[in-house]
Structure formats: C-alpha cells, structure tokens
Amino acid sequence: MSWRAASGLHAWLAQRISAIYMAVFLFYFLGVLAFCQPNTFQAWSDWFASTPMQLATAGFFIALFWHAWVGVRDVLIDYIKPFAVRMGLLVSLAITMILLALWVVKVFLAGAL
C-alpha cells in the first residue's frame, strides 16, 4: 500500500467502515439501555463482563479513534496550509489520541480485574 492510497482511498474507506460500526454499536447500546434497563451496578457490570461485549466495546473505541483521526486530519488538510503548523497540530492530535487510548485501555484493564 502506497502512502498516497493510505491518505486517499483508504482513509476515506476507513471513515465509512468505522462510521457503520459505530452506528450499529450505538444502536445496540441504546436499545439495551431503553429496553433492558441495566439500572443497578451489578446489572451494568454483568453486561460488560461478557467477552463478546468487551470485544464489541473495544471495537467501538478502535472505530472511534480511527474515525476521529481521519476526520480531524481532513479538517487540518483543508484549512491549515503552513507545513510546520499543520504537522505540529497533527502531532498534538496524535499525542492526545494516544493518551486517550491509554486511558481507555486502563479502564478496560480495571474492568477485567
């Protein structure tokens, strides 16, 4: 895969695939909240304890980060012309997203223990 494809077609495709995944996941998530009403801590943690749900949730966050990266990068490519400023913003975006991802991993690990 060339960098041109990665920053063109693949980025565009990634945004669409991640959007579809998040839409399906959110539909399911809100459906459970509305109809099963896990109102107690026990019900809530039981729901998230199952492996399929953990995988699905992990998938959701992967899709979210992927989607956000492509989206914000698109805005920066559109509007920020000076190379140094654009790279600076992209690097700070990457750092922010890595920190957020680590936080998500920490929450996951805390839930798994």
Partner: protein
C-alpha cells in the same frame, strides 16, 4: 410596460482602484429580460464596466457569475426571479482581472490535469471507434459540461486548495473518460486521482450540484469514481 430595477455590481480596475467596491445602477427593464441583457444595458450606460459573455443562451459558459450569492450563468437567469438590488460579483475564489472578469487559469489547469481526451493503446481502428448505445448512454449527464466554472468556484474545498484539489468540474470530466467504454487508461486515471488532495478533498456537500446551470451532478460522478477506485483496489 417597462419598469426600473436596481443592481449592485462589483467593480475593480487594478490600474485605478486601490480596492474593489460595489457600484449601484438603476436601469429600465422589460419582461423576459435575462441578467445578461441587463448587464449589457448597464455597459451601454457605463462603458468602463467589463464582463465576459458570448452566446447568450447557456451554451458557451462565458458568463458564469455570482448572482445574489449563488453562482450561475447571467444569460439564462431571468431578472424576474432576482431580489433587488441584484448583487452581481465575479465567481468566488479566482483572482479578479477586472470587474466581473476572473483569471480562470487554476480552473483550466485542473481540467488539463485529468487528460480530458480519449486514450487508446490498441492500434487505431480502420474506420471509427465503435460504442454500443448502452455504453454511450453512460456518458449522458457528463459530456454536457460547458466549463463555466460555476461548480468549482462554489466549492469550499476548491477555494482552499485550488492548486491541489481537482474541483468538481474537472472530476466530472475525469469520470466522463473513466466511464467511456472506448478509453483504455482507467487504471492510470484512477491512480492519478489517488492521494489526499486531488479527489478526496471532496466532502460531498453538493454545492456544485446545486449551482450547475446545466443540471449536472458532479457529486454523483465523484461518488462513482470512488466506487470504481474501491473495486479496482480491493
């Protein structure tokens, strides 16, 4: 019966004006008048005023202008539908040469870049290039473009990156040749459009489709290119 109508026209002569300004004109108009007719009448009163026009019937694409905030062709815009005072400005985003005349070089550069002609690697046929009626039908809605630049100059992605983003007009023509059964350069054409700028600055906001005076749909053509690209690479 004639009545008067007010116009507010963008004026700029780089040789005498330090910056652009809007000039008001009030002229007599009659039923059935197009904006081009009104501009010609204004020019008859004030010959320092400059604008491009030619065929007067929406075929040549010379008088693409920003009319009350929307791009379109002056010659097929009836003045009866316009709110007064009618604000007429040059196409947005392109350098102004004088008054309503813009420098279209960036627009043409992008058009040239997509190689708007048939490329055939096979030996030339003895008589003519054959095409089935079904394949010919695929070019409808694509070949009619008159390159008036209304679409590309209403596209924010083209405003921000006119040097890198091909723009809706050029991309519509890119698809016109990708869709042509006689063309044999589809792979090169797709490869040429790859990357973050040339095709993928389009975010499908459809400004282009809204303003096209010929009723064409560049957004759809761009979507088709993305689909073909996807099939090609997967």
């Amino acid at each position: 019966m004639s009545q008067t109508m007010r116009f507010s026209i963008y004026r700029y002569n780089p040789e005498t004006d330090s910056k652009p300004y809007m000039q008001d004109y009030t002229i007599e108009v009659h039923a059935g008048m197009m904006l081009r007719d009104a501009l010609l009448k204004i020019k008859a009163e004030d010959e320092s005023f400059v604008f491009r026009h030619s065929c007067g019937e929406g075929v040549c694409g010379s008088d693409g202008l920003n009319i009350n905030g929307t791009n379109g062709l002056a010659c097929i815009t009836p003045i009866a539908v316009l709110k007064q005072p009618v604000e007429v400005r040059p196409l947005p985003g392109l350098p102004v040469i004088r008054d309503l005349v813009v420098d279209m070089e960036q627009f043409y550069h992008q058009y040239r870049s997509i190689k708007p002609y048939l490329t055939v690697h096979d030996p030339e046929p003895e008589e003519e290039y054959r095409q089935s009626p079904e394949d010919r039908d695929k070019l409808d809605g694509l070949y009619e473009c008159i390159l008036c630049a209304s679409c590309s100059t209403s596209c924010p992605s083209f405003w921000w990156n006119p040097d890198k983003f091909r723009g809706p007009a050029a991309l519509l023509q890119a698809y016109r040749f990708i869709a042509d059964s006689r063309d044999q350069s589809t792979a090169q054409r797709l490869d040429e459009l790859e990357g973050p700028y040339r095709l993928f600055r389009c975010h499908s906001i459809m400004n282009c489709t809204n303003v096209c005076p010929k009723g064409l749909n560049p957004t759809k053509a761009i979507g088709e290119i993305k689909k073909i690209m996807l099939k090609h690479y997967v």
